[in-house]
Symmetry: C2
Subunit: 333 residues, 2 copies
Amino acid sequence: MPELMSSLHQQVRRTIRRHALVPAGARVLVGLSGGSDSVALTRLLLDLAEHGEFTVAGLAHLNHQLRASAGRDESFCRQFAQRLGLPIIVEAVDVRAYAQAHALSIENAARRLRYAFLERVAADIGADRIAVGHTQDDQAETFLLKLMRGAGLAGLAGIYPRRGAVIRPLRDVTDVDLRAYLESQGEAWVEDESNDDLDNPRNRIRHRILPELDRAAGGSTHSAISRAAGLIREDGQWLDELSEERFRTLAVQTEGGLELDVRSLGETPPPVLRRVLLRAMRASAGTREVGLEHVEAVTALLSGTHGGVDVPGSRVELRGGKLVLLEQRGGRR
Amino acid sequence: MPELMSSLHQQVRRTIRRHALVPAGARVLVGLSGGSDSVALTRLLLDLAEHGEFTVAGLAHLNHQLRASAGRDESFCRQFAQRLGLPIIVEAVDVRAYAQAHALSIENAARRLRYAFLERVAADIGADRIAVGHTQDDQAETFLLKLMRGAGLAGLAGIYPRRGAVIRPLRDVTDVDLRAYLESQGEAWVEDESNDDLDNPRNRIRHRILPELDRAAGGSTHSAISRAAGLIREDGQWLDELSEERFRTLAVQTEGGLELDVRSLGETPPPVLRRVLLRAMRASAGTREVGLEHVEAVTALLSGTHGGVDVPGSRVELRGGKLVLLEQRGGRR
């Protein structure tokens, strides 16, 4: 640890404190891919841990077996851990088989397997927190990715500083700063050559769209975009809480289905109403996606006096002043 | 008016009805630049007016005298109005001189002069509504423009369907559809060659960034982006109303300045607190911009026990359980 902390160390510490990411005395597991983000994350957390506020309990590397370089990446991670004197837990998974079996995209399958692995390792080694390496760049990319896919506001809320045990101490720093730091330390990392594939929408955003936005703005736009995502998240979290309360007040589970009083729904402000309806539909949607188009269909129903509409997992009907959601098992998927 | 309305006519009518843009029997003034948007807007409103629900009272064209083609555009608009048998009011302004005198960008000066002109003409001819030609494309562009400039959520809220007398019936249709419609009608329009200048950030977004986003998404992203802007606006409008109420409850104007109780502020949820503080600071900021950085500075102040911070137009201090805003006349601008 340098006498004076670098501004990078200071920023990471600010993020940790501001969002209370690490309780005093916590044991932190670091998810390590071997890329610059997670290598820098490990080094920065080790430095900050010297103050004794928490411990880096170990590293966890999941070999996704997706690329020719997967073996090289695994070896790199093992050597890195050995040099730092940290325990490392490595596991290999067949992402393609899992994706096929669960009808998921490779990206989603990999994410699901990765977080399941990290949670398992954390339980095994008694870690309280799992640090992963998402940066401000990732936040800006994710925001634009979700924006262009019409994800609705929940999708635009960006990267949560913490979700359960998973923490993201690098969310306010940039890839450029992390690489400069690693270079200044003579620390190596592995490059993910699939990051250059422009058929992948995220890479197109990284290599084409964000640089164009920067040119149009005459400077970096990452921090403006991730700040917007943060504000959307803050508004959304509170509106979600309000809506959850409102849902609990309004929704009655009867034999006929989930019932909500139409007059009370009419007195609910639009941002809360939208979320109450989403919440009600999701209760019987299972893994099927409920989207804004379904909220709009039910809202249109509410402005009439009778009728019904099919949404994922249920049939929604107006019946004598009540909105009734009838769960449809084995219905259309 | 065709026997069966085109889907374009139907969409515009849906937008008008959904947002109650035009009261029954209203007289609508149309702002006409001569570009495809406003030419199509005039034609579409004339068709929809045949149902007798409202009247197109006339056209208004402001000659900005910014481009060599300004005279050509004015003549085009006069001939267009004559052919349709509509009154047209034309005025010329010196945008550059106005921008210089008021320290505004050319874009902002032109907008201010344009809306002032439209309001004046509407009053003169007794029009209740002023229709302007913003499309879904404009919404998506504005969203990205504000996003990259770090405008905060108010800036991301997109184009309001109505603000006062000004209405935007084309907000849910695309430029491509409008041009296809004009071509199918053999209707001409003037092109604004300054739209091709890539030094202008909006043009860079239109010609470079949105097409790249479309490529990455494998389809048009305009509607997803403008939908997100709509959701942000809906959430924000309601949170603004709540915050205005909260501000009126909490803020006390004393001889010493505007006072807010610190404990009550502490019990205010973050999205409302942020807006209450913005509202309080704006009260004495005049035309100076209060931004998120000032909200953050005051929020940091609230977590301490004493101290003060300078914000645009006022000094904010903690004094005995109160947050006090002291207006500073003639202070730093």
